[in-house]
């Protein structure tokens, strides 16, 4: 009798264990949550850039993206820090251009989905943000006058530009249009700042229009940096269509990680939707690292945004200031809570883009997950949101989450999109 009871109990035990070993069972609520994460749709249109879908603008933008002549010393291009082979980042903790910056180079994967650009969101347009790294003395250290003269003096570049934007302005008068110059509010005695500040406003506008157009070609190109379907997407499709063959695209371990991601891990609260970002800003309580000044993040980003010229509501936008597209600027507010907030990064292709966090402090996904498992509450500045809680995740949970994050990587883009074309025009 004992033996019989033993086998009944053993059988129960084995049967109970079976589903957990072979598959993850999903509730309707969990399936609905997974449907919010996949598939990735096309980027939203950008009415502030009427050239965003222009084929020749895409081509010229791709040429310029890889063009080192845009930099001050002729050695750096956008691709130096946004390297397609390194997940459109640079593999370094902090960006290294002409000097070393203080923040990690953000990936460009799915960048056209973003509402705000940079870790602090100090730009609201993909075309407008391009000028900032180009002119930053830490990064490319180029300048807008030099860029405008480059376009105007190189026959191939000029021709490509004119096929998109019409006649290139006459910049030959070097009294009115010095060979080099840009606004440098932090270095008022720099010759380039002096040259720029001595120009007539109407001439400054002409040059600004040229570099805004350059930015619009760069956006047209970058809108194509869209991640391809990852194993997770195949799984999500299989779950929706009840196709078991597609569901096996996600390992059992990764499925368990997904269950934590949308459930008790609560990762989905901020890593929302198919881009897995809420496109907004959070203070997650990261402690101060190093002796440098505290990074105020979004708070200073909003200050910078309010003086930014190349916005969707500015003079170089292709929509009027009261266009609904600019509601994000109209209703934006700066609050004390913005101290130390940084943008929620996309998780698409996240395994390619180490190191992590706004300052690249974590070298691996393991380190990131270990932080979230027991998040610190000693923020460098401001206060940590209670969105983060001590999740008491086990070592096994963390491995499962890592497996899920690794399942978010899709194929690389074709070579035709990841290198400089031979000429500025097709």
């Amino acid at each position: 009798m004992h033996r019989l009871l033993f086998w009944i109990a053993f059988g129960l035990s084995a049967a109970a264990c079976q589903p957990a070993q072979d598959e993850v069972r999903w509730t309707p609520q969990q399936e609905a949550l997974i449907r919010t994460l996949s598939p990735l749709p096309s980027p939203p249109v950008d009415p502030a850039n009427r050239y965003a879908q222009h084929p020749k603008a895409r081509h010229l933008g791709q040429y310029l993206f890889f063009e080192p002549r845009l930099s001050g010393n002729g050695k750096f291009s956008c691709a130096s820090c946004h390297n397609p082979a390194l997940g459109w980042s640079d593999g370094k903790a902090q960006a290294v251009g002409l000097k070393t910056g203080t923040r990690n180079s953000p990936t460009l994967w799915n960048v056209a989905h973003q509402r705000w650009l940079f870790w602090d969101g100090r730009s609201d347009t993909l075309w407008g943000q391009a000028l900032q790294p180009l002119e930053s003395t830490l990064e490319m250290d180029g300048d807008r006058l030099k860029v405008a003269h480059l376009i105007g003096s190189d026959p191939a570049l000029r021709s490509a530009y004119e096929h998109i934007f019409g006649r290139f302005p006459d910049l030959r008068d070097r009294q009115r249009f010095p060979s080099s110059g840009k606004p440098m509010p932090d270095q008022l005695q720099d010759p380039r700042h002096l040259a720029w500040s001595q120009m007539a406003p109407v001439d400054q506008h002409v040059v600004n229009q040229v570099v805004a157009n350059v930015g619009k070609t760069l956006e047209a190109y970058q809108r194509q940096i869209v991640s391809r379907p990852a194993p997770f997407d195949t799984f999500a499709e299989g779950l929706q269509t009840q196709d078991k063959a597609k569901q096996v695209a996600l390992s059992l371990e990764a499925q368990k990680g997904l269950r934590i991601f949308i459930g008790r891990g609560q990762c989905i609260l901020c890593h929302t939707g198919p881009v897995m970002s809420d496109f907004e800003f959070h203070n997650i309580g990261l402690p101060k690292v190093g002796k440098g000044p505290v990074d105020m993040g979004r708070f200073d980003g909003i200050t910078a945004l309010r003086t930014e010229l190349f916005t969707g509501a500015g003079p170089f936008s292709d929509v009027p200031p009261d266009h609904a597209r600019n509601d994000k600027l109209l209703y934006l507010t700066q609050q004390e809570n913005n101290h130390g907030e940084f943008k929620t990064p996309t998780l698409r292709n996240i395994a390619q883009t180490a190191p992590y966090m706004h300052d690249g402090r974590f070298a691996s996904l393991e380190q990131v997950l270990a932080f979230y498992a027991a998040p610190a509450n000693a923020p460098a500045v401001g206060r940590r949101e209670d969105t983060l809680q001590d999740l008491k995740l086990s070592a096994e949970d963390l491995l499962q989450l890592k497996a899920f994050l690794e399942s978010l990587s899709g194929p690389t883009l074709p070579a035709s999109l990841t290198q400089q074309p031979p000429a500025p025009a097709p």
């Binding site: 009871l5 109970a16 919010t36 929302t272 800003f281 609904a324 969105t387």
Partner: protein, 165 residues
């Protein structure tokens, strides 16, 4: 008997590890506390019942991570419309200790109706909408509304943020 005990324990452990699979996956700090459930009514008195505020979102239900508008009806304690009240609207996630990243703009439409534009809830979970009302010569009081924005109820992915209408 030792084996029997071992096997029964094994069964209990196995069943025990299975049963919480669903329970474990319910985020708890993303839902209203029981005391807040009454706040989900779209008609609320202000704190000391000097005013009644009724809201309707546009669109309805409130979308995730997109701007939306509120239509407010503001009345006094006797259900008479208040036209010239000062109205300030804000919202936050008390369980998360953060608010919105936007500042809504209130416009009086007359006859106790107000339009509040520019709200945006960037996260799923329990939100509270705060409507501060002050009629001329009357005290300022706050009406508080609660609502739960469920991620799983989002029909479309939360993407269309740059060209809403």
């Amino acid at each position: 008997m030792q084996y029997l005990t071992l096997a029964l324990c094994s069964a209990m452990v196995a069943l025990g590890t299975l049963s919480p699979v669903w329970a474990q996956n319910t985020p708890n700090h993303n839902r209203p506390k029981p005391v807040n459930v009454d706040r989900e009514n779209r008609s609320q008195f202000s704190a000391k019942k000097a005013y009644r505020v009724i809201y309707t979102p546009v669109p309805d239900p409130i979308p995730l991570n997109k701007h939306f508008t509120l239509k407010l009806v503001v009345q006094d304690a006797n259900n008479r419309p208040i036209d010239n009240a000062k109205i300030v609207v804000d919202a936050g996630m008390p369980e998360h200790n953060h608010g919105m990243n936007v500042k809504p703009v209130v416009k009086a439409l007359g006859k106790g109706l107000f339009e509040v534009k520019g709200l945006l809830f960037h996260m799923g979970g329990y939100w509270e909408i705060y409507v501060d009302v002050q009629a001329p010569g009357k005290p300022k009081e706050r009406a508080t509304f609660g609502l739960t924005l469920k991620l799983e109820d989002q029909k479309q992915p939360a993407m269309d943020h740059s060209h809403h209408h």
